[in-house]
């Protein structure tokens, strides 16, 4: 695959280089042709030469006319003489003069004509129309130049024609090259296109095979995860049996040594059960089967649940655990409190059981929609480094040991909750693990609850149970305003009463307190003794 990519690059580079080479050569040839054209389109010196020849003839004609007694005046003769002089002067100046002289180097007819002009100047200037002798002498003096100039004109004409032919040949050559270069470029481009089309097909085929392989591996991984989940689940059942039997054995009469061994066995079994739970979670995360909840919960409950949950672990590790809020926390939040609690528990358990933590402070704070848990850990020096688990994910995966399972699950949970996990340290040497998760705060409004209970004690129990919620108790005469009606169940004419209440408060939810004969009459039933948490959650849901 790599060599194929290299070959493609070389072919592509080669095509580009050859195309540039052909284009450059074509440009050079075109430029040369252009220059040749410019040279060819210079002043036509054959015409200049013929003008000299013509003016000599006209001058001689003017002399001849006077000699023959016609009307050519001395002024006319002089004018013709001056014009002839000027034509000779053209051969002496500028690029045209230089080019004309190239054809006259051997014969030097123009040079000799100029000398003749100078020699005859005095005679011409003073010439009279009736001075036939002088006219004849001057006429005779210029006579030989006529044929020589004619020969010079012929040479120039032929020479210029040859030069034009050379330019035409050069341009033809250039045009031929341009044609061949164009054909070569077209062939090259077509060849390149065919090559890249074929390569494209091969790459598409490879990509298809790669996708199929990836899908195959994904399926294999899925099967593995499912197997892991199933096995973990299956292992938990006998493990619960082991724990149960251990509990029974501990209650039986045992000597201290046996008791110590049983306690050790119980701890190990509990730890294994925890690991199995972690494996289950991890497999569920890998399978992407875990869906997050978004339910209202009380911040206070989270704060109280953590010490309750982790206190025994800290006690066993002989460490101190302190959970406290920092600043003002919203009363209620909306999120997956179970997963949040589990995330914190996994990390703290890891610090206590594996990292040798002596002292853990968990500070919960809230800002800008994020619930931040700052876990400050003071741990025993023992070669453990937080980087071992919080460094690059790759490292922890390479050294994937049982103790890393918890933090790994926690990290994936944080990621699933679109949160962030950061590791740092404090000046006092404690490590600080910040877990920030977006959890929106719930706007607290007061819930209007109507209590329709048979006895005052029952009313007091209910009020006390839900007292932590923002609730306004509505009197019976304002029943239509109530959002929740809590009715005692198991009374006479229960169905009628519920129907009458629903008519009175058409928009209210009716919660039954007790054990109703017909639970379907109620929107929710809270059995007695009241399960405070469940009732509060249902009321919170109404609030949310």
């Amino acid at each position: 695959m790599a060599w194929r990519r290299r070959v493609s690059k070389i072919v592509f580079g080669g095509v580009i280089l050859v195309a540039i080479g052909i284009a450059s050569t074509g440009f050079v040839i075109f430029d040369r042709s252009l220059n040749a054209m410019q040279q060819a389109s210079r002043e036509n010196i054959a015409w200049s030469a013929s003008q000299l020849e013509r003016e000599l003839t006209r001058f001689r004609d003017s002399l001849g006319a006077s000699e023959a007694g016609h009307s050519s005046s001395s002024a006319d003769i002089n004018q013709r003489f001056d014009v002839l002089w000027s034509r000779v002067a053209i051969f002496q100046r500028g690029e045209v003069g230089e080019r004309l002289q190239q054809y006259d180097r051997e014969s030097n007819v123009v040079g000799r004509l100029f000398e003749e002009l100078k020699r005859q100047e005095v005679a011409v200037v003073s010439i009279s129309s009736f001075d036939f002798t002088t006219l004849a002498q001057v006429y005779a003096a210029f006579y030989p130049y006529t044929n020589e100039l004619n020969e010079l004109s012929r040479r120039i004409f032929v020479g210029e024609e040859e030069k034009s032919a050379a330019v035409r040949a050069q341009m033809r050559q250039g045009a031929n090259f341009a044609l061949y270069a164009s054909i070569a470029t077209v062939i090259l481009v077509i060849g390149g296109m065919i090559y890249f089309v074929l390569e494209g097909r091969i790459f598409r085929k490879l990509a298809h095979e790669n996708r199929a392989l990836a899908e195959k591996f994904k399926q294999a991984s899925l099967v593995k995860s499912r197997f892991l989940t199933m096995m973990s689940h299956e292992l938990r059942t006998p493990m619960n049996g082991v724990l149960g039997m251990l509990a029974v054995a501990r209650n039986a009469e045992t000597n201290p040594e046996q008791k110590s061994m049983l306690e050790q066995a119980d701890r190990s079994a509990n730890r294994m059960l925890g690991m199995l739970t972690d494996i289950l979670d991890f497999a569920a995360l890998e399978n992407a089967e875990m869906a997050l909840d978004s339910k209202p919960f009380f911040t206070n409950e989270l704060l109280l649940a953590l010490p309750e949950l982790l206190g025994p672990v800290a006690l066993q590790a002989e460490a101190r655990l302190n959970v406290a809020p920092v600043g003002e926390l919203p009363v209620m939040l909306r999120g997956d409190v179970t997963r949040l609690r589990r995330t914190y528990a996994l990390m703290i358990t890891y610090f206590l059981e594996t990292a040798g933590a002596r002292d853990i402070d968990l500070a919960l704070s809230y800002h800008d929609g994020y619930l931040k848990a700052e876990i400050l850990v003071d741990y025993l020096d023992g070669g453990w480094s937080p980087d071992l688990i919080f460094g690059d994910r790759g490292e922890s995966e390479d050294s994937f040991a049982s103790e890393v399972l918890g933090p790994s699950v926690a990290r994936v949970l944080v990621s699933k909750m679109r949160g962030e996990l950061r590791l740092g340290s404090r000046d006092d040497g404690r490590i600080a693990l910040d877990i920030e998760v977006p959890v929106p705060a719930m706007e607290m409004r007061r819930l209007k609850v109507l209590l329709d209970l048979q006895s005052a004690p029952m009313e007091m129990i209910c009020k006390s149970t839900i007292s932590s919620l923002p609730i306004d108790f509505t009197p019976l005469e304002n029943a239509e305003c109530a959002e929740v009606v809590m009715m005692e169940t198991g009374t006479m004419d229960e169905q009628k009463k519920v129907s009458a209440m629903r008519k009175k408060c058409p928009s209210a939810l009716v919660f039954g307190i007790g054990r109703p004969a017909m639970p379907s009459l109620y929107d929710f039933v809270a059995e007695v003794p009241l399960e405070a948490a469940e009732l509060k959650i249902r009321l919170s849901e109404v609030l949310g």
Partner: protein, 160 residues
């Protein structure tokens, strides 16, 4: 003595005529004609030199290197004839003639040069007037079409 006088007289006349001849003040050197109105203006040497002159510096195939040409501008001569017209026919002393679009004079500073590098043209050297285009400053003028319009020994301009 008389044998000596005749050659001396001839030499004197030759010296007067022989130097590159300039026109006398009264002699017409350039005739301007407006064929549409019948206007004809004949310019003597003095009148030609009295016209406002412009100078351009340019090369062409008939001179050695950059040369300063001075003389009236073509468009000024057309204006002298009352303007209008689309072409001018320029005729040299040897009856060579060329037709030039008036547009040339409006587009370029075409000079009806009477001198090159401050030296007045004689008839033996493109005088009295040489029409010069500013070829060095305008590459498009470096073409045989415009070379043919560099008419020298100009004696007549006719506006049509």
């Amino acid at each position: 003595m008389t044998r000596l006088i005749k050659p001396l007289l001839i030499l004197g006349v030759a010296l007067i005529w022989g130097a590159p001849r300039l026109a006398t003040a009264e002699e017409t050197v350039l005739t301007l004609v407006n064929a549409m109105t019948g206007t004809e203006i004949t310019l003597t040497e003095a009148e030609l030199m009295a016209l406002p002159h412009a100078t351009i510096e340019t090369e062409n195939e008939f001179v050695d290197g950059m040369t300063r040409f001075t003389g009236p501008l073509g468009r000024d001569l057309v204006a002298l004839l009352g303007g209008g017209g689309s072409t001018v026919v320029l005729t040299a002393v040897n009856d060579y003639a060329v037709e030039v679009p008036v547009e040339d004079f409006n587009t370029y500073d075409v000079v009806f040069a009477v001198s090159a590098d401050e030296v007045r043209f004689s008839r033996r050297d493109k005088g009295p007037v040489w029409v010069v285009y500013p070829m060095s400053d305008n590459r498009e003028l470096q073409d045989p079409v415009y070379n043919a319009r560099l008419i020298w020994q100009l004696v007549r301009m006719e506006l049509n």
